[in-house]
Symmetry: C2
Subunit: 196 residues, 2 copies
Amino acid sequence: MAEKSAGQRRRTRSDWAAAALRALAEGGVAAVAVEPVAASLGATKGSVYWHFPNREALLTAALELWETEHTEAVIELLEPIAEPLAKLRTLFSAVLEDTDNRVLLALLASAEDPVVAPVLGRVTERRIGYLATLFGELGWTPTQSRRRAVLAYAAYVGQAQLMRSSPKMLPANKVGRRAYLDDALHALGVPPASKG
Amino acid sequence: MAEKSAGQRRRTRSDWAAAALRALAEGGVAAVAVEPVAASLGATKGSVYWHFPNREALLTAALELWETEHTEAVIELLEPIAEPLAKLRTLFSAVLEDTDNRVLLALLASAEDPVVAPVLGRVTERRIGYLATLFGELGWTPTQSRRRAVLAYAAYVGQAQLMRSSPKMLPANKVGRRAYLDDALHALGVPPASKG
DNA sequence: ACACCTCCGTACGGTCCCGTATGGAACTGA
DNA sequence: TCAGTTCCATACGGGACCGTACGGAGGTGT
């Protein structure tokens, strides 16, 4: 067995960005600290400070990585789906199932951070804009679509928070989640999917 | 002019709890640190450590203060209103106007913190429960009321997040907020208020 | 084999915070 | 007024992290 994370000889900038993103997901922005991240790769600060001028640059690299690979992931997930209605359904069900929100929650927790703020702003804007186009394809006026999109994304974000802080408030089993999802989509003006 | 925050001679435990809560609102859980809070009252650590055994106790005191005075505030705000519909409207409009969410956002940002978690859990549970009763009074079944309450609170929380991270996404003027609020309430199954 | 550049470990000083120890000021009551 | 209690400032040691300095090991080309 070749050594993987430990004992590795040389690391690239991408390795550090990935490690920083991992730390971000697990411990929040504060966990993206030079020494702990270095230790997570079995290295020391000397290595980090060769690839990055300072801690902020390391954090920025992690955020860039997340922003790009995450938008790609969403596109790849929804692109093959034709119906905007099915897209919305898939999108919303992801919140109830997925655990990917870790990074998003970490960023929301540090929304004031000057390094985080612009990234969070761009992602939020992009997502709401995308939701608005979906609602537009469903026949809503631009103004209505916009409002629905903001409301839907607010519910999305709040949902992610509740999953972490008060999971007991949410439906536990699959049937309950399905019913909750149907109800939420219906409330937002999206009729339930025809069974089949 | 009598000295107020500076030059004060003796502080009580309540003074420290209030100062800690202030720090929590302004800088998050991390800002509830012994030395900075002491400095905010023109004192030193020595005083803090006389009233509290450690930092955690100071944070707990701040959270207790918030939990009690905040639930009182909500009760005082909604108690005089008779109609459950008007209560909901008042409740939701508070998010779009108020800036009180600072503490809530700080707590959500540190939801994993073992000191924060139980407080956040209790408050969340209480609020959703209260929302559910309101929806119940509007004629929804218990199951539907529960789902609507969770959805409404998720939207509430997400809304608070958006106000901080992406205020540009939300309606800026009063008219826009009113329209957005109407739309949101309507989506949740609450008909718009009759004008007058 | 040699110099060279890339990458990294170690050591150091600095900041901010926690928590403890201790002496002394400020108030209290008799 | 004076002893006792309450409250607080100062000083100290420890830990986590940042950033810098520097030397040395690892690869690379010739």
